[in-house]
């Protein structure tokens, strides 16, 4: 094993709340944070918090945060020893991982080969099967006739998925045979255009199900889990609220899901932080592998809240070439935590995006309350990036305490200047169905249809 490096300076190649989050951990570790910024973010809060900033390019992501060579050049010019890619943008780009290797930089993430293995959703499915994980019945299809044959075998409805997709993109549900031909043809055309990879595959459309995921940490030799999270509160496959641990889950099934996650990581010899996502049907005691996200995730703070760990610090330690500092038994999970993603969207207008300028940003403070944000009064919310404004993470001894605390905390949130999902969250956490715990991925759509929280009624 190569001796561990001690990082002195890291280029943070991201923006928004995750840039602030990474800068905080770097500071706590005594590592200098140089933030790579587009022109839209040069004066934003993350830029003010970083030790220094360096320009990546103009505002459009293609010319800045998605430009591999610009990121590598910025890291070298800043004399950084490593690049932290955050989530989204280039965080799962094997090209960035390889370009960092070639330039003598540490890519804070898994190996390029591991990114290849999980970025191709069909390859990931193959690895899941090889690791002994249950997968949703399905397989690759190259034309309509093959798709029809496969759909007939696995049963309706089916989901047409792009091999290069992921994170909710490139999915197309098909409910009956007549829709299949056009759906497969469109999916192939769109996947080729959007992901540069026209391959699609078919899976049985499991409904209703719960989205349960396992947080992994590996050093390339050993893999441990840091518990599970439930991310079933979703809209169009985008998570809106997450919690840890998954509520109302049979202990035996929870244990099986966690073991499956670790088995997948071990199969890959995984290095870094990663999340294995599963679809679960607790009523039948079944679960299936969905995909792996090979990066830090938006919802990582709920795991931090119940484990007491700094996940970014652990990720950096592994990237420096150190062995895991924890054995599985050292990971003690206690209490409960819920995260609300506060987005610049208007739930009363069909979740229409709401870019603009924040004129006031007041957040709750107190025991069990954490707010991860890049906002302060005067902050721009540009139209060219995603809509996440802040994450409100509330923890406590048990779920009931968390929900009660969260209700009060949401009442004290005030963001003026743009529309937000705060009202929707307040309605959600007060809803008895959510309060019981264990909602499925169809819950949020049902909740908004009946005019719940923030949706004008």
């Amino acid at each position: 094993m190569t001796p561990a490096t001690r990082l002195r300076r890291v280029l943070v190649a991201n923006r928004g709340e995750i840039a602030v989050r990474i800068i905080r951990s770097l500071r706590a570790l005594g590592i200098e944070a140089v933030l790579a910024v587009s022109d839209a973010d040069a004066d934003a809060l993350p830029a003010r918090l970083a030790d220094a900033t360096i320009r990546l390019g103009p505002a459009p992501p293609a010319a800045s945060y998605l430009d591999v060579s610009a990121v590598v050049r910025a890291a070298l010019a800043a004399r950084a020893g490593a690049v932290h890619p955050g989530y989204g943008f280039l965080s799962e780009s094997p090209r960035l991982a390889r370009a960092c290797d070639a330039a003598g930089l540490i890519f804070i993430g898994p190996t390029a080969g591991q990114l290849d293995a999980v970025g191709d959703k069909l390859a990931a499915r193959g690895h899941a099967i090889a690791a002994g994980l249950p997968v949703v019945p399905g397989g690759a299809v190259s034309d309509v006739a093959q798709a029809a044959e496969l759909a007939g075998r696995i049963g309706w409805p089916v989901l047409v998925k792009a091999v290069g997709g992921g994170g909710g993109r490139g999915l197309r549900p098909v409910r009956e045979p007549a829709e299949l031909g056009p759906a497969v043809e469109r999916a192939i055309a769109e996947a080729g255009a959007a992901f540069g990879d026209p391959r699609v595959y078919l899976e049985r459309y499991v409904q209703p199900g719960r989205h349960i995921e396992v947080q992994l940490l590996g050093d390339g030799k050993r893999v441990i889990h840091l518990g599970d999270r439930d991310c079933s509160v979703q809209r169009r496959y985008q998570k809106l609220l997450e919690e840890a641990p998954a509520p109302r889950l049979d202990a035996g099934l929870r244990d099986q899901i966690r073991r499956a996650g670790v088995a997948f990581g071990e199969h890959l010899g995984y290095r870094g932080l990663g999340t294995v996502e599963f679809l679960a049907d607790p009523g039948r005691g079944e679960f299936w592998f969905l995909e792996m996200n090979a990066r830090i995730q938006v919802e990582h703070p709920v795991t931090e809240a119940i484990s007491g760990l700094d996940l970014v610090a652990e990720q950096i330690a592994v990237a420096e070439g150190r062995q895991l500092r924890l054995a599985q038994d050292d990971v003690v999970l206690a209490g409960h935590a819920i995260e609300c993603r506060i987005n610049a969207e208007d739930p009363a207008e069909g979740f229409r995006p709401s870019p603009g300028t924040v004129t006031r940003a007041v957040f709750p403070a107190g025991p069990g309350i954490r707010v991860d944000t890049h906002l302060q009064a005067g902050s721009a919310v540009p139209p060219g990036y995603d809509s996440l404004l802040a994450k409100l993470i509330v923890s406590g001894h048990d779920r009931d305490e968390v929900i009660e605390r969260l209700c009060g905390a949401l009442r004290r949130c005030e963001i003026a200047g743009v529309a937000t999902t705060i009202g929707l969250h307040a309605g959600l956490v007060a809803d008895p169905e959510f309060g019981r715990g264990g909602v499925d991925t169809g819950y949020l759509a049902r909740f908004t249809e009946r005019g719940g929280g923030g949706s004008r009624g």
């Binding site: 918090l49 505002a59 293609a62 010319a63 430009d67 403070a365 139209p383």
Partner: protein, 183 residues
């Protein structure tokens, strides 16, 4: 440098036993206001004022135009970025366009965002100058915060001018194109 969530909670522990309802901590780098509501629960408002320390940009990618041309890095963009239809109409930036024209109906951006003329990279544009449109004909897409919003003509007639170049930003209500209405 600012305060962490833990720092704020340490301060709150001190304040909880004191008879004060508000604390304003002002330094040269930030201002923190902690306020106790009627129910006894606290809010925080942070304003970081320190200016970013800017390092010299890397060359050659640091040059704005080199990257904006898309000559570097366009192919590695994949699906995260919108459609790429070559060559929009020349000239006529938004500022050069009158807000209204005789006998013409403006198609405006419903939200601020990036205007795209085609549904996918490489696909033919929805409309060209001369295209016949109906009110529900989709004439473009405005991408705002990673969400694709279809723009329809909302008039029956002929496209006479396409004002905003493909993949360029458009303000809310900016004129994207002009349509000559059928009489």
């Amino acid at each position: 440098m600012d305060l962490t969530s833990d720092d704020v909670q340490d301060i709150l522990r001190l304040l909880d036993d004191l008879p004060f309802g508000e604390m304003r901590l002002q330094t040269s780098r930030f201002t923190l206001v902690l306020h106790r509501g009627r129910d006894g629960d606290w809010t925080q408002e942070m304003q970081v004022s320190s200016e970013p320390a800017v390092l010299p940009a890397a060359s050659p990618g640091g040059d704005a135009r080199a990257a904006a041309d898309g000559s570097a890095g366009a192919s590695e963009v994949g699906g995260a970025v919108g459609p790429d239809v070559g060559g929009g109409p020349e000239g006529g930036g938004p500022e050069a366009v009158p807000a209204a024209q005789d006998g013409l109906v403006a198609v405006r951006a419903p939200l601020p965002g990036t205007f795209y003329r085609a549904p996918q990279p490489g696909a033919p544009p929805f409309v060209e100058v001369g295209s016949q449109v109906e009110p529900d004909t989709v004439v473009g897409i405005v991408e705002t915060m990673k969400l694709m919003n279809s723009v329809s003509a909302q008039a029956t007639g002929t496209v006479t001018q396409i004002v905003v170049t493909n993949a360029e930003p458009a303000q809310r209500d900016a004129v994207l194109m002009w349509i000559r209405e059928d009489r």
